[in-house]
Symmetry: C2
DNA sequence: TTTTTCATTTCAATAATCAGAAATATAAAA
DNA sequence: TTTTATATTTCTGATTATTGAAATGAAAAA
């Protein structure tokens, strides 16, 4: 049983966009095909709770800051952040690079946690950004561990749009990358999404043994020597394994 | 007219916390004093929209990732971000430090935009973190431009809790800082919230001439020489003025 | 000033939701 | 296996929300 008024209230929230950030009652009424008294009641409720904000001058509405509050709570309730914060912090200090944790969400990579090296900087325990899986190290790390059926499905329905000259745009290239990731235990992103940004990422598994999240090390490409890559990837894989264990994952012992 | 079911749906969302990240129907029913069928309908609606997530195994509910999506939209619809992105990016590249834009929200500082120097790093056009006003450069920059009545009200109802050994904990010290900020045109934060973090921040005014937001430059304290401080604070004040003008603020000409 | 626009409120009929109690379903625990 | 706990569904009268048309209020435009 879906609650009509709740659905409509959520519909109203998603009417606001980059290009239409401010809406009036009549706008909303027209967009949703609802009467003005109905819209007014819903909008007033959302406004009284801080999910909408009414500009006193124009009387137009925009999204309210209470949305940020619930977003912060979402972030702190994510299990991966709760168990990943410690290992990520230690990895940041050990490597002196930015560390991120990300999860797979609707075929994209959603960053859930950011740590910068040195205790003098803030832990961004906050969500975002969202990045296509095929051109991020974490995306490839996760994809490489998914069943081949899922990979086929992914490449079939995902246009490999180039973001930089180095973005992978063919299925063959992508599959090669995934194979390499399976061998190395980590995936790479060599300026495939942002120029100058080089990342490596290792998958994190949950108690079902499914690839659930990924931890990544980001740095300027010029700073990663081959030797450094060996050291850092090793530390990163250990951090990933530690988090996987915290999530209840036990690596299968090799059968005799 | 407040819509009961919408209010209840929002109540449900705020039941989830750091310490209680997963709740069942009975839990929610008890916490809100509602019957189970009522709660179930609301929860199902929120789940179908992605605002809640039900774990298939435990059947418990937690906050859903759709909350992040609406948070992203909130961020991109904020006028201050829309007009501040350009100047902030240029300031980051000019100074080679992290730049942030923040607004005053319920006596706290809410960061709405982060830019890191160099095009190789990502613009965090995302909300958070939230920091007490009295121990952040942006908070002091904004507070310094508020009417003295508002300042009195602020210090009266805000406990000056220490975060570091250098946090300002007396009203007198804070007022001295505000006076200094008014003279300099920017405020400072010398490791008052996080050890090793030094920031300066200049206020941004809206078309009413009210202090509305602040732009800050963050860096390790050891990297700020006096000379550098002069240059950077000047560039920062110019960026702040540019954003203020974009918001419709015209600086009063000095009367003859 | 008058006109226009749109937010807000009113009202009564209609539709949707809720409470309360109880039944059924489902999964974990004993 | 049975027991236990809890999610989910069912039902009906009571409560609450929505519609549609119209009126009022309040600010901006002409």
């Amino acid at each position: 049983m879906a609650i009509q008024s709740v659905n409509r209230a959520l519909d109203i929230l998603f009417l606001f966009t980059n290009t239409k950030p401010r809406l009036g009652i009549t706008d909303i009424s027209n967009l949703l095909g609802l009467t003005k008294p109905t819209v007014h009641g819903l909008v007033q409720t959302l406004t009284s709770r801080g999910f909408l904000y009414q500009d006193p001058e124009s009387r137009k509405y925009s999204l309210g800051l209470k949305i940020h509050e619930i977003g912060t709570i979402l972030c702190s309730t994510l299990k991966i952040n709760q168990v990943g914060a410690g290992p990520a912090r230690r990895l940041a200090d050990a490597t002196n690079y930015m560390i991120r944790i990300a999860i797979w969400d609707r075929d994209e990579i959603l960053v859930t946690f950011n740590v910068f090296p040195g205790s003098q900087t803030i832990n961004y325990q906050q969500l975002g950004p969202r990045v296509p899986a095929y051109c991020s190290a974490s995306g490839k790390a996760l994809l490489s561990m998914m069943p081949s059926k899922k990979i086929e499905q992914y490449v079939k329905q995902t246009p490999l749009k180039p973001y930089t000259p180095k973005t992978i745009t063919t299925v063959k290239q992508l599959k090669n990358e995934l194979e390499k990731a399976r061998i190395n235990g980590y995936a790479e992103d060599r300026e495939e999404y942002l120029p100058g940004l080089f990342c490596i990422s290792a998958p994190i598994f949950n108690q079902n043994g499914s690839p659930y999240a990924a931890i990544s090390v980001s740095g300027g490409f010029q700073f990663f020597s081959n030797e450094e890559l060996d050291t850092i990837s090793q530390q990163m894989k250990e951090a990933a394994a530690e988090i996987s264990r915290s999530l209840g994952y036990f690596h299968q012992a090799t059968p005799i």
